[in-house]
């Protein structure tokens, strides 16, 4: 046990959001010169805790200490002033501005260009990152943007660095590079908090591990004394290992449902994302899609779902494809409308004449019970449901069968489904639910295309796997290493 005071200490932090107790009397001590991993499942409270430390969120109880002195952190400006830096999961850079400008943001007085450029060079030397002061952030790759994000924290002389899921968007070898750098940074005497849900990562690089579950600390010990088994049990609250058993399909694949021939797709800005790709998805099959962020999966999924056009080539698909997008609030629901209205959204474009409200209400009721959507009634605004229940309704709507408005193709309840990060923000039970539904739909004959930024989730569900990299599409075996390498183009 180190005798020097902890660099950062959080004592007795509690935080409530509306009806949800996000954090319950959480304490955390981070020693200088160490990497402290903060583990937990989706929704455990890891990010919330660090948002409290960084001044983005106020806590209801508890205190924060830096170097044993009690501090009041009311805003990021305060946090930065006492030496905290945070690298967020969703980058907080201004895309239209240059690297130098992004690093300079938050300062005072007159802008001195030479000083700004020098700062960038200085950080570049310090970290070994390649940073171009005059490059516009929006033109940088994801990995490069993350390095700028880190540089931003260091430019403010951060001594305590908080990283929120930093490897989520990186390919395996980039992730390794980053972790190595974090180790060097800690060895230089700084303190690091590494928020992650990846056990292996934590054990590989951290000195100390804390596990949160449902907003409480359930485990806190040195990494050397921790095991995968113990940590998993703590994260999930059961003795059962997280299922690494890949439950395969019963039954063989059937007829082709999605057929892509020579498909080329450009994104909104005209950048080529996918070139001359061809593949088939069959009935009774889940096609998993893997790729680092920005590899073209966003565009491909939308083209498959009929929400976007292709620039060359052809995609044959059924007329009615269900789509579960990753940004639910923006693309899938009307938050201020009732559940009924949200269900009515699905076939809104093809209806003619009067709205069959009675039928839609009945359908909503069916979907709610079939998919266990918890809500006081179908008339409440969707906003009042928890995130998990909202997502279950979306999945139900896109998968659901209770509607006879669509012209029937044979008697198939659902022929085609495209799914993007379907369990983002859901707790363990809701996640398991959604996975079960996807498997059920597959068994009933559906063709499903699934992308998740959590590679393990995709591998657990997929019957087949394709990997996107550098505009190319490759089919890969269901092997984590092979897929990981392919994601990088190896």
């Amino acid at each position: 046990m180190s005798t020097s005071p902890p660099a950062l200490a959080l004592e007795g932090i509690s935080k409530r959001f509306g009806a949800v107790q996000a954090l319950r009397d959480v304490s955390l001590r981070v020693e200088p010169g160490t990497i402290h991993a903060l583990l937990g499942e989706n929704g455990a409270g890891k990010t919330t805790l660090m948002h409290v430390a960084f001044g983005l969120v106020s806590s209801n109880t508890g205190s924060v200490y830096v170097d044993s002195a009690r501090v009041e952190i009311r805003s990021p400006a305060d946090a930065i002033a006492i030496g905290l830096g945070m690298v967020h999961q969703h980058f907080s850079l201004v895309p239209a501005m240059t690297v130098a400008e992004n690093l300079a943001l938050g300062g005072h007085g007159v802008l001195r260009t030479r000083e700004m450029v020098d700062t960038v060079r200085h950080i570049a030397d310090l970290t070994g990152f390649a940073l171009d002061p005059s490059a516009r952030v929006e033109n940088l790759s994801i990995g490069a943007q993350q390095r700028v994000e880190i540089a931003k924290a260091l430019a403010r002389q951060a001594r305590i660095l908080i990283l929120d899921e930093p490897t989520a968007v990186l390919a395996p070898s980039e992730a390794e590079d980053l972790l190595r750098w974090i180790r060097r940074f800690a060895d230089a005497g700084h303190a690091v908090v590494l928020i992650t849900h990846k056990l292996s990562e934590a054990l590989a690089v951290a000195d100390h591990v804390t596990v949160l579950r449902h907003g409480r600390v359930v485990y806190d010990d040195a990494a050397a004394r921790s095991s995968v088994h113990g940590l998993t049990a703590a994260m999930l609250g059961t003795d059962a290992l997280a299922s690494t058993e890949y439950v395969r399909a019963g039954g063989t694949a059937g007829a082709a449902v999605f057929v892509a021939k020579g498909v080329t797709i450009r994104d909104e800005r005209g950048t080529l994302r996918l070139r001359d790709a061809s593949f088939v998805v069959h009935e009774r099959e889940i096609l998993g899609v893997a790729g680092v962020e920005g590899a073209g999966q966003h565009e491909l999924l939308r083209a498959l779902a009929g929400r976007a056009k292709v620039d060359a080539g052809v995609i044959e698909r059924p007329p009615r494809v269900g789509f579960v997008p990753e940004d639910r609030h923006r693309d899938a629901v009307l938050l201020d409308r009732s559940l009924t209205d949200n269900v009515a959204l699905r076939d809104a474009a093809r209806r003619r004449g009067r709205m069959p409200w009675a039928a839609i209400r009945a359908k909503t009721q069916n979907l709610m019970s079939e998919f266990d959507v918890r809500a006081p009634s179908r008339n409440v605004p969707l906003r009042s449901l928890s995130g998990g229940n909202q997502q279950k309704l979306v999945v139900a709507r896109e998968m659901g069968t209770g509607d006879r408005a669509a012209p029937a193709r044979g008697a198939h309840p659902v022929a085609a489904l495209v799914v993007e990060n379907p369990t983002r923000g859901l707790d363990v039970r809701a996640t398991a639910d959604v996975h079960a539904r996807l498997r059920m739909a597959r068994d009933q004959g559906a063709a499903i295309v699934l992308y998740s930024s959590d590679l393990d989730e995709v591998l657990a569900l997929a019957s087949r796997m394709i990997v996107l990299h550098g505009g190319e599409l490759r089919e890969m075996p269901l092997d984590r290493h092979a897929v990981g390498r392919a994601m990088l183009g190896a």
Binding site: F17, G18, A19, V20, A22, N42, G43, A44, G45, K46, T47, T48, V57, Q89, H90, E165, A168, H197, G306, R307, F323, P325, H329, R330, D331, A332, V333, L334, L335, D336, R337, A344, L345, R346, A348, A349, R350, R351, R352, G353, R354, M355, W357, P381, R383, S384, S386, G387, Q390, R424, G425
Partner: protein, 346 residues
């Protein structure tokens, strides 16, 4: 509900306060306000209900547009365009009677639709904010009418800035026993109620609402053609406002004037907002505002209170609506924040 009643009470207090501040005789002002609006049968029909007609239609126009996410502030100009179109037809075919009347009404709606169409095109093709373009077009319409009634359409003696009077047979008939109230009230009611039904019960109406509520969800989840839907809503909104102008010319003024509209198009915004953008409630709020404006006229005549007071009241009403909406939204933020926060926490 409680909040809305509180708002209305606050307005009444505000009226009294403003009257006191201006040093006006409150009792006589309030009495004038009452008798001028609903206190007598004549006032009710010929002052209030007559004003309610254009307010109802333009209020409906604004509601439809706003509902679709189109900020149509141009009801005033579209109304003028409609009045012009109707007057042109009516003056051109004085002997064709009811047929000409019907065509004139349709021409008015078409003219309003066309005027809105200009802004819709600018929005579609060039991404021009319709808030600004429709206001600009209001001014252009005003000056165009000014030019027409002093030039090509001016009455034969060239003494007054107005068109010739339209023939008796091409006018909207007055309702017997109801002063200056004319058949237009039936048209306005039928259309406004119809539009409300259409929004609630048709697929097209649902699509319009969805587009206004969340264009991204409409496109992605509903596969709705957002651009087409909002453009059509825009043009339909113009048609409704144009119809209001046509009815004013054919049923009230019987000629084209420069000041055909004492700002109905702008008041319509308050009417629509207070009605929560629901056409069925527009029927009620248009009556409220019509009564206020009728009463304001009486207040000015009998108690020397400037009629601009009503503009203040109308604005305060909007502010009340906006504030209550904001407060209501904050109450439900509790639920939303936890959802978002949980989303961010992985």
């Amino acid at each position: 509900m409680l909040l809305a009643l509180g708002g209305v009470a606050a307005i009444i207090c505000a009226i009294v306060l403003l009257l006191l501040l201006g040093g006006y005789d409150v009792p006589s002002a309030l009495i004038a306000l009452w008798t001028g609006s609903v206190g007598t049968w004549y006032a009710f029909t010929s002052a209030t209900l007559v004003r309610a007609i254009p307010l109802m239609l333009t209020g409906c126009a604004v509601a439809v547009a706003f509902r679709a996410g189109v900020f149509n502030i141009g009801a005033e100009g579209q109304l003028l365009a409609g009045g012009t179109g109707a007057a042109a037809i009516a003056l051109a075919f004085p002997s064709a009677g009811p047929v000409a009347l019907a065509i004139a009404l349709i021409a008015g709606a078409a003219a309003g639709a066309g005027w809105a169409g200009i802004a819709a095109l600018l929005r579609e093709r060039f991404g021009v904010l319709e808030v600004i373009s429709t206001i600009m077009l209001n001014f252009v319409a005003l000056y165009a009418v000014s030019f027409l009634v002093r030039g090509p359409l001016q009455e034969p003696t060239h003494a007054y800035p107005q068109s010739s009077s339209i023939a008796e047979t091409v006018r909207l008939a007055r309702l017997p026993g109801a002063g200056r109230l004319h058949v237009g009230i039936l048209i306005a009611l039928a259309i406004t109620l119809g539009v409300g039904w259409w929004l609630r019960h048709t697929a097209a109406g649902f699509r319009l609402q969805v587009v206004g509520e969340s264009p991204t969800a409409a496109a992605s989840a509903g596969l709705i053609d957002v651009r087409r839907t909002s453009a059509l809503a825009f043009v339909a909104s113009g048609a409704l406002a144009g119809l209001a102008g046509a009815i004013e010319v054919l049923g009230v003024t019987y000629a084209l004037y420069e000041d055909l509209s004492p700002g109905y198009g702008y008041t319509a915004i308050a009417v629509a907002l207070l009605a929560g953008l629901d056409p069925w409630r527009v029927v009620l709020t248009s009556l409220l505002f019509a009564a206020l404006e009728a009463g304001a006229g009486a207040m000015q005549r009998d108690a020397n209170v400037p009629s601009t007071l009503v503009a203040v009241i109308e604005a305060l009403l909007i502010v009340t609506v906006v504030a209550t909406q904001a407060i209501r939204r904050r109450r439900s933020v509790g639920a939303r924040t936890d959802d978002l926060e949980l989303e961010v926490t992985t």
